[in-house]
Symmetry: C2
Subunit: 348 residues, 2 copies
Amino acid sequence: MSKKNNFRRYNPLIDEWIIVAVNRINRPWQGAKTEKSTGGNVEKSSEKNQLAPGGVRSSGVVNEEYTSTFVFENDFPSFTEFEDCAGEEEDSDLFKQKEVRGVCKVICYHPDSQLTLAIMNLEEVRTVIDIWNQQYVELNPKYEWVQIFENRGAVVGCSNMHPHGQLWASNYLPSIPQKKHESQKKYFEKNRKVLLLDYLDQEMTKNERNIMRNEHWTWLVPYWAFWPFETMLLPNRHVERFTDLNETEKQSLSSILRALLIKYDNLFECSFPYMMGWSGAPTGSFLSEDCSFWQLHLSFFPPLLRSATVPKFLAGYEVFAEKQRDISPEIAAKTLREIDGEHYSKRK
Amino acid sequence: MSKKNNFRRYNPLIDEWIIVAVNRINRPWQGAKTEKSTGGNVEKSSEKNQLAPGGVRSSGVVNEEYTSTFVFENDFPSFTEFEDCAGEEEDSDLFKQKEVRGVCKVICYHPDSQLTLAIMNLEEVRTVIDIWNQQYVELNPKYEWVQIFENRGAVVGCSNMHPHGQLWASNYLPSIPQKKHESQKKYFEKNRKVLLLDYLDQEMTKNERNIMRNEHWTWLVPYWAFWPFETMLLPNRHVERFTDLNETEKQSLSSILRALLIKYDNLFECSFPYMMGWSGAPTGSFLSEDCSFWQLHLSFFPPLLRSATVPKFLAGYEVFAEKQRDISPEIAAKTLREIDGEHYSKRK
Ligand SMILES: O=P(O)(O)O[C@H]1O[C@H](CO)[C@@H](O)[C@H](O)[C@H]1O
Ligand SMILES: O=P(O)(O)O[C@H]1O[C@H](CO)[C@@H](O)[C@H](O)[C@H]1O
């Protein structure tokens, strides 16, 4: 497969950047077709899933017979370190294009294609937390931003149901973390407090949108949530980056993560689809800057609205004017709070 | 149906507003289920489509036996003029909520549920343009922003396949037009030129991303497009608002609009799903301000990527870090340019 350089282009009308990644168009597709499924259906054929141990990937590479977690470089990456067509940058007010470099990886959580984070045991969830940490330790010095995320379920564009997430690391700070950086910085300069910690404090007093809490973590629906059951998981103390978490906090994370994913699965009694992503202080050259205004957080943007089959769409009004949600964040929080803590599959 | 006040809430982490519209959760749903269809499948049962002439809407109201276009107020609106619970505004740094007022309408394009804008005749398309104009004339003085848009196809969350669009008008300028307002203003102050007209000029010289042009309009793929086949339709002369279009331009709009929608349908030989939306200078109190830096434009954000059944998803990386596209805007433009101009259904 030939690797081309990728670019970011600037949208001067709404002051936003877009990545143009022309390597990816031929990647294999086992996800949503017209006949879309939001459930966790996994290949039933005799051929091995591409992400499973021994699976043959589209690049021809055969996965090792892994027994725990497994990380490999994406065969259709949006970012590469390969440079073969320099000089295509543009820099006028209306035509602005920058070359981008980076790396994209796939993180398999478990050898068993039938599992999900919600139904793994605690030790297995903990191995995923450890592999995230290991990736950050390795990549933080090299890249300005390391995005670890998971697209779970065909309804959010996941092209393979094997339990896995992704990591995209880049030589620049992307648009959304850039905004978070500025907002948290401004807030700190004005209030001498960390935005998300101050927010967490106030939410604990208001007691309306918090769902679950243990000694080290709090799970809540943000006041400003857009997705119907959007939530955020926050460390209770000030933590800038994932790599700053101590052993106890990581252990505690595995139990609250599993517990919250069980609640999500129980909501509509399905393997709950979501976009999940970590955000913490930027890395690379930012490691030598003061980023103490940052607070680590894990966001969940699940699309389902009314049942396992009716999602919320980011549609016309949302993309041309403003995002709009159909249930209040308070009702979403109450619903999640009251839901059973035992996985529905075990109850039947 | 009880009408409650609706609100906008502020996201301090990424400096963005979200509408909380709690009236809408119980609206009827004929769109995407788990078994998703991107085609134009219309109710085949003996019951009349809710949007058709004589159709019974969920409010119990029966539609008149209309023979051309037909406009009515949305039974599950995000904005209403009804005020019954004032005083719930909040205004701290972290908890900011404003009450919003407005109106939401449904605009039926034609009595026949089997038609689409692409396969109507020119006179029929022209009636849609006239009804858009009539709505703007009526609502511009009352509202700061009048958003006319269409969600077409189940894949973009359209809950009914009858040919129709929507109009949401509000007493404030929403986030995205607000950004467009600022960007165009800044550009004008710096360059003494209208951003989108200057851009159009340069695109005509570059001749890489323009697809179709007639005397009054140009259809092109923006340099910064995100959606795989995202395009923009621009008047060739300076036009601030839809209501500034003259008769000839409106006539010319009906032919280029139909021609471009036929190309879209021919791309994957399906009734092409899209989000379509008009943007022009804001209205209401802005009518007495200088908005001459604005240029009217019609945007198309279609989700399909590789076939009638494989969409592009705005997924994890896009929502947590930055938007990413998989084919270059230049290839998208070339593909659309070379596609046949006769509707595929007529060729068979
Ligand atoms: O009003 P409709 O067509 O039922 O709903 C559709 O369009 C709205 C406006 O873009 C979106 O908020 C909804 O998510 C979408 O399903
Ligand atoms: O890389 P995948 O899983 O094939 O692709 C998925 O995630 C990407 C990153 O969020 C998105 O750009 C794609 O639209 C989505 O289908």
